[in-house]
Symmetry: C2
Subunit: 322 residues, 2 copies
């Protein structure tokens, strides 16, 4: 048995390969099989992370295991899907068992937190990269797409913004900070928590949703274009964490909130009456703007209503050279 066959056995025996709901047949045959309740559709999303592009190399493999799965599952949250399963295609230069144990441990922790089971994949030799495909289920017609925002809706987010990209100087070892400040920022970067419960709560209420991976303004533009509306973002309403402001200062904190990627917080549009119902149920969501008639644009306003929309938005991965 080759060392790569051993690795496959190791994944097959992992706790995350032993659950769960909806999985009729897991790892070990030509295909995995998933069952869906009547009236539900399967939601699918794929994410690739490449060493040196999407994460520093070397890095802690436990943290990478957590983050790689969370990033993919976040797309299920953005669709209002209930999580079921995932596949992992892992390409690694050598069969380093210490590295793999850390990675699988991180994967197990996040899989348990997100209630997904590993149902298949492939392990190959090559430059370090990983592709995770996630599966969820959503009742037909209740999916949260990007294309349903309507003028009059409010624009909201599901948590504080900018923490993950604000943590980059810590991730890259360029700066240090007190543990009380560093810990929450690094946690946002390395173990983002997909907002699955919020996604389910938004079914039938939100008119559109997306998870913030490219940066707030860039992702708002995706909604604006898909819905053929204009989105107005009010900068002073952006929720910022104490840790981010203390670490980065006001100006850089706002920049991180507007253009930093990797937040994996939901941004969504919702009619005012539905927002009241969400707030009444205790959901900690923040109104950051509104939907207007328009043609796919995003406008940023300052505290006195002046247009301060930046010319360039969006997020380049920290090591990407183009």
């Amino acid at each position: 048995m080759s060392e790569f066959d051993l690795i496959r056995k190791y994944f097959t025996a992992a706790p995350c390969a032993q659950r769960g709901e909806g999985i009729t047949l897991g790892i070990g045959d030509d295909c995995a099989l998933l069952a869906l309740p009547a009236g539900e559709q399967l939601a699918i999303s794929t994410e690739t992370l490449v060493a040196g592009v999407h994460f520093a190399d070397p890095c802690d493999s436990f943290l990478l295991g957590q983050r790689s799965l969370a990033v993919a599952v976040s797309d299920l949250a953005a669709m209002g899907a209930y999580p079921l399963a995932f596949t992992l295609a892992l390409t690694i230069p050598t069969a380093n068992i210490d590295w793999l144990q850390g990675y699988v441990h991180g994967l197990n922790v996040m899989a348990k937190s997100c209630n997904v089971g590993l149902v298949g994949g492939d392990t190959t030799r090559g430059s370090l990269s990983l592709t995770i495909t996630v599966f969820g289920r959503v009742p037909t017609g209740q999916e949260l797409t990007r294309s349903g925002a309507r003028p009059g809706d409010l624009l909201c987010v599901g948590g504080t913004l900018g923490d993950a990209s604000g943590a980059l100087p810590l991730v890259l070892g360029q700066r240090t900070a007190d543990i009380a400040i560093a810990q929450p920022l690094l946690a946002h970067y390395w173990s983002p928590q997909p907002q699955l419960a919020l996604g389910l709560a938004l079914r039938g209420k939100a008119t559109s949703a997306i998870d913030i991976s490219d940066g707030l303004l860039a992702d708002c533009e995706h909604i604006a274009k898909a819905s053929a509306v204009s989105l107005v973002v009010e900068r002073q309403k952006l929720p910022l964490s104490y840790a981010l402001i203390a670490f980065a200062g006001d100006d850089k904190a706002y920049m991180a909130a507007l253009n930093g990627g990797d937040d994996y917080v939901l941004v969504f549009t919702v009619p005012p009456v539905e927002l009241v119902a969400l707030l009444a149920s205790g959901w900690p969501v923040y109104v950051i703007g509104r939907v207007e008639v328009g043609h796919g644009g995003v406008t940023l306003l300052d505290a006195i209503g002046q247009d301060i929309t930046p010319a360039v938005r969006g997020y380049q991965h920290f090591c990407e050279t183009s």
Copy 2:
């Protein structure tokens, strides 16, 4: 818009992203959505191909496009699943449009032939590799697993064996041959045809099935172990193509048929009465052995019934060093 955003638009506009059946929402949102008829399950399989390990680099990107999809879809055939869709995670070192056009063209041709639509994926910068995840549907209880073979069943294959690995000296440019010999061998390597129709015909008849990717003996061992039986393969019954024998000679042709990978022909077990029904319907299947009581082993017999089982079986990718 970055060059990688342009590539994503290019895939979104590809013909294979415009079909098909069962796809409720295709490329462009946080998730794709697939619908299943009542009583059917979703079948999922993932394959990664790495340049220099699973294919020569450089190679013809059109041929790679065909082959990469065929290899993945073949797992749906082996499960008796009806094909629906696929996702593509493509990692490339540079945004070479000529290369991409060839690749997408190959993908389009195979996607049309296999009746699958591209529903999502990811394009990233890095060493050339690609991960394709395929989706199909199969009525609950009619899936063809590896674990149902029973003593008394016959062992069969769905086509000639060894052609793809026999073609390797041609693929690698180490040998040449007359076009009448080279063409069918290279076609088996670069554009294997997933045996989807045969997989569907085997539903309710075959007791187990697998597609030959590791080599006949190695894949028979997968069935033998999963079913807890012994498989007996009779070497003189292996179907070999005229081209393979003419190119490689008898001995090497048998070696390719037994241990060569990449055939993507189905091997399956079937009770004699069901085999008669398959043959009566005109399916060109070949009996190559039988299932006996046992514990996961595979025995190879020569023409006079002597045990000639090799000690080592299975297939190492042609550039793999371990």
